[in-house]
């Protein structure tokens, strides 16, 4: 007897079984097939292709003159790249943390039988609706020290109010955080709200009887059962974080100097504007590598833990 199959847990199909499988048994695999195919080609295929390019001297269009690790060397000798990587760390960390926090809090607040829930929910969510191509302009105005918030507050009489992050190379990355949080936290809220709406009411009753306050009930009972939602939110947020291209382009265009550059912008600029596809590919690979280094362990633990539940 096949002991592997024996240990494979509570799978409900008879994978790896002797014949006599009907079409129905193949159904799950059949319906997954298109996704598998495009994933293999359009994600992994291209990823490999990019990896290959990162070892070439490709400039404007892909070419296959291999140059070894030269592009990587250039990359790590590039000040701008290091700035971009550091920014990604700061920006990504803050952005994800704040969005998760705000998203959870707002979802919980909205779950308290709020009057006008629909209206408030829409207000929190709408930033997702508007493309950053334009809201970037609005934010640029708002954060601009000469005619934005700072001016408004000064007009209101707070003469010493100072808010010049947008032009301060050390602080500009936080402007990105503000705008990105503004845009994405509503969606996180929606994710959590959907999760909250699926929790079994009896559980909450049980927790109340156990003496848990509403706060504790959320913290210990409801939110832990929303672990998969956290997971979704995290993936979505990291995705947004490492791809915050529009945001940077619209809000700071990398400036002042290149103080607010992020790897996505770096990559785009080098690949397309500066015709250095080789270097751009190398930066993409490094970006991917960083993300995977953080993500894969988490993914692993997350997906493993689910086995027998």
């Amino acid at each position: 007897m096949n002991t592997k199959a024996a240990n494979s847990g509570s799978g409900q199909t008879q994978s790896g079984r002797p014949a006599r499988l009907s079409l129905a048994d193949w159904m799950p695999k059949i319906v997954m097939a298109p996704t598998v195919l495009v994933t293999l080609v359009c994600i992994y295929g291209y990823m490999i292709w990019t990896a290959v390019l990162s070892f070439t001297g490709s400039r404007m269009l892909p070419s296959y003159n291999f140059v070894g690790f030269e592009q990587y060397e250039r990359l790590f000798n590039n000040d701008r790249w290091m700035v971009a990587l550091t920014n990604l760390g700061i920006f990504g960390g803050l952005f994800i943390a704040i969005c998760l926090f705000l998203g959870v809090i707002l979802a919980i607040f909205l779950d308290q039988k709020i009057r006008a829930e629909g209206a408030i929910r829409t207000i929190y969510l709408y930033p997702m609706a508007i493309s950053f191509i334009v809201t970037g302009t609005a934010w640029k105005w708002l954060l601009n020290p000469t005619n934005g918030l700072e001016k408004m507050m000064i007009d209101f009489g707070f003469v010493n109010f100072k808010f010049d992050w947008l032009i301060n190379p050390d602080m500009v990355v936080y402007c990105l955080v503000i705008a990105a949080v503004w845009q994405a936290s509503g969606f996180v809220m929606a994710l959590f709200l959907a999760g909250l709406r699926g929790v079994d009411g009896d559980l909450i009753k049980a927790a109340h009887l156990d003496g848990a306050s509403t706060f504790t009930t959320y913290r210990r009972i409801i939110l832990p059962s929303l672990k998969p939602v956290f997971f979704s939110a995290l993936v979505v947020l990291s995705h947004i974080a490492i791809k915050s291209f529009d945001l940077v382009a619209a809000l700071t265009n990398g400036g002042p100097g290149y103080a607010s550059d992020l790897p996505a912008n770096f990559m785009y600029t080098y690949t397309f504007t500066r015709s250095q596809i080789g270097l751009g590919s190398a930066s993409a690979m490094v970006m991917l590598g960083c993300v995977l280094a953080i993500l894969v362990p988490y993914l692993y633990s997350e997906l493993r833990g689910k086995r027998h539940e």
């Binding site: 020290p145 700071t252 265009n253 400036g255 290149y258 500066r274 015709s275």
Partner: protein, 393 residues
Amino acid sequence: GEVEVLHWWTSGGEAAAINVLKEQMVEADHTWKDFAVAGGGGESAMTVLKSRAISGNPPSAAQIKGPTIQEWGDLGFLTNLDDVAKAGEWDVILPQVISDVMKYDGHYVAAPVNVHRVNWMWANPEVFRKSGASIPTSWEQFIVEAKKIKAAGFTPLAHGGQNWQDATLFEAIALSKGARFYSSAFIGLSDTALRSQDMIDVFDTFKQMREFVDPGFSGRDWNIATSMVINGDAAMQIMGDWAKGEFTAAGKKAGVDYVCYPAPGTSGAFTFNIDSLAMFKVEGKDKQAAQKDLARLILEPKFQETFNLNKGSIPVRLNMPRDKFDTCAHASMDSFLASSTTGDLVPSMAHGMAVNSMVQGAIFDVVTNFFNDESMTSEEAVDKLARAVKASM
């Protein structure tokens, strides 16, 4: 046949100008497919172009300029326009600096649309009057006058903190060291020029400009900066002649409400920026015919006039009637002719006419970072510049 034209002339005036071309094409029984992609000085359009080219479906014509034309030529995507050029006597009507850029391997592959002068300074005389300053003609004087203006409560220099604007300012300062220096540094990319004392001086002056811009300059679009001059908030702006469109749109009159001067210390020189449409190899006789017609029409005086009137630039053709153009344009035309003989006609580094995009990007990075980093010294900057340029060659 049909022509598909990829370009980033999307604003009202440009669109009107492009429409002229479109109408002429339609009259010649062609179909005009307008593929406009604005943004980032054509960055997006370049991306699109690459994607189209790689998918085997390039447009008939695309707005490409300067050395990039050569790169596309290298890749073998461009078509030969020699017959059109011959018929239209392009070699005759075009100054050689321009026709050189339009050729790949000795053959015409692109049609030029206009010539911009980049080293302009736009000033609001009202502000100068109020602050008791006079228009500077050298950077030393600029600093003196700017201090007066600042003391009077105005912003001396309207500027937008985007890398190409920084570079525009920077190249104007560099040009004041002479066209030769400029050429060896930004065209020849000579290490000695890049590391020279002159370059250090240029950086010094450049850094001083930081004092004369207002705190909100970061990331500002150039036309907002222009409107600061228009509104009388700021005294001057160093910007190409496209800025004129802003003044015109605001109903201001050249010589009255605003004045145009060459950037300090560069009066004899001319940094040019030429827009052009490169023609791609396409399948089908019809399409090819239409493409040729398009090339021909671009050089026709009618289009040249309309387009350049709208854009603030000057026609690429020599000997065009100039009566419809304003004083600044006249000055530009004169300077263009004069400088082309003295060797003071140089391509703009900031606008991608001098070097390929890799080197340009490397220079941008150093320049813009220097301008925004208070702690970096000019010596460091020069060193960085030289190294960055070398690394990207």
